[in-house]
């Protein structure tokens, strides 16, 4: 059987890495935006957050970029799945005693954390994006600085008053942290941007990125839930 | 009596090889395509020959017993490869390398062959560097050298402690390149079972597919054996477990003469034997003798206490240590040739000064070197060897001296070949350790790699062509010829007979017994009585083997015990020939030490008047005495002297 591949394994890894790193930069922007909801907590109309969200939703550049982002997610997911299927196929029969020599334990579970994150993304998409676009009805409007806009801040706060949802959210974001902890430095390795000298720095930076993003996102629902 | 014609070219020594090449016959490129060559073995000699012959355009079929050509035992050579580059500016030259090799071989090798070896040694280094072999370098980016036993210059190129590995991988790369080009076809997990001759010429082989058990026929215009040495006849040796002498032995039984079978090299720096379940011995590179000092206690009572574990080597004060090599051989010190170092160790241990639980060990001490150069330098030079030593013995050689003892390492003897590396069977060439050609009665360190690659890269592509030049009109042979039928039938019957014994004892039982006889009586020191006993004992053991060996499993399929049994059956015959050869040679020379023939100081005493010849044995039939043929050795360019490593 010929295994000639359309893209070589390395090319697929480059794409995975570039998409992954791109998504990480997006997550930082997203986190900055989300944190602003805490600023006006209790105000009911969340001016800082809503204004920023409104800017994002109306800026033509961002609107175009949003599709790039979707594409990046999609490619990262599809390539990830293809690679994983190939990986499973390359060892049809496994070991009785499983090995455990991986440097980073999370590296074994990228597909698992990835799948949970994907499920989370779908729910997230339904809860926020589709609501904000009015595809799912229920969004209220507020007037900030004389401009009428969606009160997305309230949507968030309302959702985070649900204990089950908060629990799910926290767990999913923890897994995202695990995913990134391996993923960040792995991207550099796949792109060949790693050597003995600055390799350890990249790995350290990967831990920092993972912790900052995961904790940053997790803090928001916790604060909202416990201050309701 | 058939006369042995060594076919040494005319002319002064330094011109012989050039003259040969200038006047030899060649095969034109279009005709090379029509010629098939079989190469058995993928070590340095086999892989380099197959690659080079493939490059020339011949059709080459290569066979190896392992799962990949990269695993041949050349890979285990540690220390280095000699060449007369004189990069260090320390006075080396082609002549000096030639001289050292002849002298190191105790004047039992052929001048013309050795000179050619020294001549092409430089080309080997160039070739390997071009292949990407990562030799050790100086900070300025140029190649560096180390010194080895038996030489007063530094001429050994090395790649850490893995020179053999790197050279073999270079040759394996060249071989892979030719496989890709389609000029070489590789057959792995195949063992040569016998040689097929048609009208007196070597024309093919029968192989056994070690996975399916099938017997396969392969025909060619010429056959090259590069199947290595037969050190495993001793059971315990530094050879790989699967190294064997069967290919050469089958050729011997088909008419190729076997030369100097008793010349085996005992390597002085091996890890001592530690138990009776032991399967093999591990070599510690000779390069260790550059910085390590060899000693035993001066006082017998100290040695006894060490053996009982009451005293540690580090507790013996400097003045109570006997650095016996430095004492006996001031000029060469710890770097005397291997045979001299090995015998000196045996002498001390036999006299009761040996250390280790068995008393069969001496110390190799790095304390001085570590003090002088620092631990870092020693680690950079020998780190992997120290690590290996610690893994095996559980002792840390940075803190306590290593223990070493001689072990069987290399066989200088092998199939007799002429200057063209062709055996007495026309069309059967023999290369590397499998032939007897260049090392006389003792091989110098870092010379095996040199010889293997010299044969494969630079000698055989010329000499085989000379032979094949008049074969271009000979059409490809069919493998359904009666000659093939007959040999395959022989092989089949041999296997069936072995399987049918169905006795009680596993093969290893006999192999171990044979090894014991060989080590005790045909080993480091031999005498007439012992050799005569050995011959009798081997004959007895052989009878016992054919009555009591048990080969389980199916012959049609992967059957490791069958493979072992076939090889041991041959060793049981070869061992006898070794003893016969050792018994007939009433002198001591190089690795062959007859206790009756030694100087008052215990050095080997040659008898140049009666034994300055190559002993080539002809097979006369099972249970018949082999016939001795002598190739006299003439030294025209070198003064034959008593070997002296006491003064330069």
């Amino acid at each position: 059987m010929s295994n000639k591949r359309v893209y070589s394994s390395l090319t697929k890894k480059y794409v995975m890495s570039l998409m992954g790193l791109f998504l990480i930069t997006f997550l930082f922007v997203h986190l900055g935006l989300n944190l602003s909801v805490l600023k006006d907590l209790g105000s009911g109309d969340y001016p800082t957050f809503n204004e920023a969200a409104h800017f994002m939703a109306t800026n033509p550049f961002i609107q175009v970029f949003q599709w790039v982002l979707f594409a990046a997610f999609l490619i990262h997911i599809i390539f990830g799945l293809i690679l994983q299927f190939q990986n499973w196929a390359s060892r049809p029969k496994g070991y009785k005693v499983k090995g455990s020599a991986e440097e980073n334990i999370f590296s074994q579970y990228m597909i698992h954390t990835g799948i949970v994150i994907f499920i989370f993304l779908v729910i997230h998409f339904v809860n926020f994006f589709m609501v904000s676009k009015g595809i799912i009805p229920g969004i209220q409007h507020v007037k900030i600085n004389g401009e009428e806009m969606e009160n997305l801040g309230k949507v968030i706060v309302d959702v985070f008053h649900n204990g089950y949802y908060v629990t799910f959210y926290v767990l999913a974001l923890l897994l995202l942290g695990f995913h990134l902890d391996h993923g960040f430095q792995s991207a550099f390795q796949s792109l060949g941007l790693q050597n003995k000298k600055y390799g350890p720095f990249i790995k350290g930076l990967g831990h920092v990125v993972a912790i900052v993003l995961a904790l940053g996102f997790i803090i928001i629902p916790l604060v909202i839930y416990f201050t309701k | 009596m058939k006369k042995l014609d060594s076919k040494i070219p005319e002319g002064p020594l330094a011109q012989k090889w050039k003259n040969y090449k200038d006047h030899q016959n060649l095969v034109n490129p279009a005709n090379k395509r029509k010629i098939d060559i079989i190469v058995v073995g993928t070590g340095l000699a086999g892989a380099s020959a197959a690659a080079s012959l493939g490059e020339l355009g011949f059709n080459v079929k290569v066979f190896c017993i392992q799962d990949s050509p990269r695993r041949a035992h050349s890979i285990a050579a540690q220390g280095g490869i000699n060449a007369a580059k004189n990069y260090p500016n320390d006075g080396d030259s082609v002549y000096r390398l030639f001289y050292d090799t002849i002298k190191g071989g105790d004047y039992r090798s052929r001048e013309a062959n050795v000179y050619r070896l020294a001549e092409v040694s430089n080309n080997i280094i160039d070739q390997c560097v071009a292949q990407g072999v990562p030799f050790a370098r100086e900070y300025g980016g140029l190649l560096t050298n180390r010194s080895f036993g038996g030489a007063l210059v530094s001429r050994t190129f090395y790649a850490r402690g893995q020179t053999g590995q790197q050279l073999l991988l270079g040759a394996y790369g060249a071989l892979s390149k030719e496989i890709k080009r389609g000029h070489v076809v590789m057959y792995t997990r195949r063992e040569m079972m016998d040689l097929v001759m048609i009208n007196g010429r070597a024309r093919g082989i029968i192989t056994r597919n070690l996975v399916t058990g099938e017997l396969e026929r392969h025909a060619a215009h010429a056959v090259l054996l590069a199947s290595g040495g037969y050190g495993n006849v001793y059971f315990l040796s530094t050879n790989a477990m699967n190294s064997n002498g069967s290919a050469a032995w089958k050729a011997y039984k088909r008419g190729a003469f076997f030369a100097n079978p008793s010349f085996v090299q005992i390597h002085p720096t091996c890890i001592p034997v530690h138990g009776d379940y032991q399967s093999k011995l591990t070599l510690m590179s000779e390069s260790l003798r550059n910085d390590g000092r060899i000693w035993v206690p001066k006082k017998k009572e100290d040695a006894e206490k060490i053996r009982k574990g009451e005293l540690k080597p580090t507790q013996i004060p400097e003045e109570d240590r006997d650095y016996y090599l430095e004492r006996r051989y001031p000029a060469f010190g710890n770097l005397v040739p291997r045979d001299v170092a090995s015998r000196a160790a045996k002498e001390r241990c036999d006299a009761g000064y040996g250390v280790g639980p068995t008393g069969l060990a001496v110390y190799l001490d790095f304390a001085d070197a570590i003090k002088r150069l620092g631990r870092d330098v020693i680690e950079a030079r020998y780190g992997n060897l120290f690590q290996m030593y610690e893994k095996i013995t559980d002792d840390n050689p940075y803190e306590t001296p290593m223990m070493i003892y001689p072990a069987i390492h290399y066989t200088m003897g092998g199939l007799w070949v002429d200057y063209e590396l062709m055996s007495t069977i026309p069309g059967l060439f023999v290369a590397g350790e499998a032939n007897f050609s260049d090392h006389g009665a003792n091989r110098l360190g870092a010379s095996a790699l040199m010889q293997g690659l010299s044969d494969g890269y630079f000698v055989l592509p010329y000499t085989m062509q000379n032979y094949l030049a008049d074969q271009i009109t000979v059409p490809r042979f069919k493998t359904n010829l009666p000659e093939f039928d007959e040999v395959e039938k022989d092989v089949k019957e041999h296997i069936a007979k072995l399987k049918a014994v169905n006795g009680k004892e596993p093969v290893d039982y006999f192999h171990r017994k044979l090894g014991r006889i060989m080590w005790d009586k045909v080993g480091m020191a031999r005498n007439e009585k012992g050799l005569k006993e050995a011959i009798e004992e081997i004959r007895e053991l052989r009878k016992d083997f054919w009555k009591n060996v048990k080969v389980p499993g199916d012959v049609n399929g992967l059957n490791v015990e069958l493979e072992k049994a076939l090889r041991v059956a041959d060793f049981l015959e070869l061992g006898e020939l070794m003893a016969i050869d050792a018994l007939h040679r009433n002198e001591s020379c190089g690795g062959h030490f007859r206790e009756e023939y030694q100087t008052p100081e215990g050095e080997a005493k040659r008898d140049d008047e009666h034994y300055m010849y190559v002993a080539a044995w002809e097979f006369k039939g099972d249970d018949k005495e082999p016939e001795l043929h002598k190739e006299p050795l003439k030294y025209e360019n070198i003064e034959v002297k008593q070997r002296n490593y006491k003064t330069a």
């Binding site: 690679l83 990986n87 390359s90 070991y95 | 799962d67 695993r71 990407g132 590789m186 690590q387």
Partner: protein
Amino acid sequence: MDLKLKIWRQNGPDDKGKFVDYEIKNISTDASFLEMLDILNNELIEKGEEPVAFDHDCREGICGMCSLYINGHPHGPDAATTTCQLHMRRFKDGDTIVVEPWRAKPFPIVKDLIVDRSAFDEIIQAGGYISVNTGGVPDANTIPINKGKADLAMDAAACIGCGACVAACKNASAMLFVSAKVSQFALLPQGRIEAKERVKKMVAKMDELGFGNCTNTYACEAECPKEISVTNIARMNREFFAAKVSS
């Protein structure tokens, strides 16, 4: 010491195979792992059973012939050690040792613990060499090579081609093996000349043979008996990228 062994037995490539339990007594702690198996095999032969087939040759840790996946580790639990250099003092009296063959689609089982690793040869044949013929090469000292680079090339060249990296990798990826050869030649001026072609051909062959993809878990480096570094993989990723965008 006395031990319990659980060894994979499989009569041929098409046989289903199963684990068989053995007990073995009075093993010296100084014996090597393979010597322990030799003893077991001789006992089996004396009992009239078929011995366990396993690959081995030099028993010095350099030929790369030995394999065995022992208690979850290729070449057993010791770091930087091949199976043939693994000694029984590493185990405790009464231990149960599970011995499995390398498991990877490109390494089909031949018998018991023996697998077919010719896929590695095929990868080398695809381009793992410098295309020079015998003769006609320049003097060895014509091109000086930076010592640091030569040392790095040697580090990579130390690979023994045993396949432990593939066996250890959860994806059965051959990246460490391939990258070691690519790196060795990429670091040397002699090898640079055809570096781009080499890396492309070797990677394509590796993919074609069905090895998995690298997910940078670095299990290969941890289990490699010669401690080949994963920085070689990074170097190969670089080389491949440069080769793809420039030609």
